[in-house]
């Protein structure tokens, strides 16, 4: 049975929150792929915990989006009944996690460690600023999430140093993963009309405001990890605008399957 897909308001203030929600949701979904498969038991537990925190943040943000949207949707409808082009996450977080692909980061634990580092620092810087948002609901979510992001960053940084400055093999794998992931970080700092509106309304920071702080924190970790940031490229991914890599569609097909097949089904 087919279930009609839903649309969410394209108003900048709704889109600003939805972009954060989708990045947290898709990142959580990918991280959870390590459950039962991580290289050591402690990391298996760690990835499940990281994913759980992010899923909790995504739920709060989706619920808040639904309230701002005002069409009577809820977190589940937003997660399970939107089409691929109506998701606005960073392209980086939809990349394969455990399977390698010719032109995508993923397939190695090193990819997972670096993605966690990049995204947790970016989220932490967002949350720190969003605590002062004129939207009190968003500020409240940020006040909780910033504590979790700090913990996620500390964990990812520790692994980045351990593997980057580890054996010849682990260092080589980290450098290879870094070359794959780095081009996707450009999107984290590209502004558009949603950012302009958010900055003007005091809703939250423009993405470009985060760039210098993000780079300083990443460079500090890299210095200890014996890694060097690659040169920036002209490539800018566009997931935040709804134009995704080929990987998101497959992921949503799996993630949304149950609610599409059994509408309204509950555990």
């Amino acid at each position: 049975m087919a279930v009609a897909s839903i649309n969410v308001s394209a108003a900048p203030r709704v889109r600003y929150v939805l972009r954060l929600a989708d990045t947290a949701l898709i990142h959580a979904q990918r991280l959870s792929e390590w459950s039962g498969h991580a290289p050591v038991l402690e990391e298996d537990i760690a990835f499940s915990n990281l994913a759980l925190d992010l899923l909790g943040q995504a739920r709060a943000l989706l619920t808040h989006t639904a309230a701002l949207d005002g069409q009577g949707h809820d977190e589940d409808r937003l997660a399970f009944l939107r089409e691929e082009r109506d998701f606005f996450n960073l392209t980086l977080v939809e990349q394969p996690m455990r399977r390698s692909s010719a032109h995508a980061p993923g397939g190695d634990f090193a990819d997972a460690v670096l993605r966690n580092l990049f995204v947790s620092v970016w989220f932490k810087l967002q949350w720190q600023r969003l605590r002062a948002s004129t939207d009190s609901g968003l500020a409240a979510i940020a006040g909780k999430a910033v504590k979790e992001a700090r913990y996620h960053q500390a964990h990812a940084a520790q692994w980045t140093v351990r593997l980057g400055d580890g054996s010849a093999e682990s260092g080589a794998r980290m450098r290879a993963a870094l070359a794959r992931a780095w081009p996707y970080t450009a999107e984290m700092f590209i502004d558009d009309e949603v950012d302009a509106d958010a900055a003007q309304a005091g809703l939250g920071p423009r993405r470009s405001e985060l760039r210098a702080d993000w780079r300083a924190e990443i460079d500090a970790v890299f210095a200890e990890a014996m890694l060097e940031a690659p040169a920036d490229t002209a490539f800018v991914s566009t997931g935040s605008r709804g134009v995704h890599s080929e990987h998101l569609g497959f992921m949503l097909a799996e993630m949304q399957h149950l609610q599409r097949s059994f509408p309204g089904g509950r555990w």
Binding site: L41, E42, I45, D53, G56, A139, Y151
Partner: protein
């Protein structure tokens, strides 16, 4: 309803809540954990309870809300309405001294003070809840629930859980 009656009803409600245990750390009540931010009588004669969840993704949040409502209703103090409040965010600093003692007795090392800027990723000076030795080391940053990490005592060799400072 007279003022004194309301007060005694609220006192009774607090006593009931002190018996509502956290499903994942069943040594502690929702009061010990500092989850209950407000408890007041409603105009319709029922109760309003405001809870603050611990972690964004804590799967126990909904179960705790249900248990709080069910316990107060079963004690004849309802109808109870439970709402969640995110701000200010919950901190492990809100765990009472009684709660810390119960944690230790249950075998979980209680959290140290939660800092705003520094992350004590590997907390120092975590005392073994069994032998009180400070010669301990962290085995895993994450544990069986979002709120705990796993340590080992180098003196008595027992592994134990540490409630993270957040």
């Amino acid at each position: 309803m007279h003022g004194a009656e309301v007060t005694s009803r609220i006192d009774a409600a607090w006593a009931v809540l002190d018996g509502v245990l956290d499903p994942e750390v069943p040594a502690l009540s929702v009061c010990d954990l500092g989850l209950v931010r407000e408890l007041r009588g409603a105009d319709d004669g029922g109760l309003e309870v405001v809870l603050t969840p611990t972690y964004s993704g804590c799967p126990a949040t909904e179960v705790i809300s249900d248990h709080v409502r069910d316990a107060l209703d079963a004690a004849g103090l309802g109808p109870t309405r439970v709402s969640l409040r995110r701000a200010p965010a919950w901190s492990s600093d809100w765990i009472s001294s009684e709660g810390r003692r119960k944690l230790r007795e249950y075998g979980i090392a209680p959290p140290g003070p939660a800092g705003e800027s520094t992350v004590h990723f590997i907390a120092r000076g975590v005392a073994c809840p069994r032998c009180e030795s400070l010669q301990t080391e962290r085995l895993s940053a994450f544990g069986s629930t979002a709120c705990k990490s796993i340590y080992r005592c180098l003196a008595c060799r027992e592994p134990f859980e540490h409630f993270k400072a957040i």
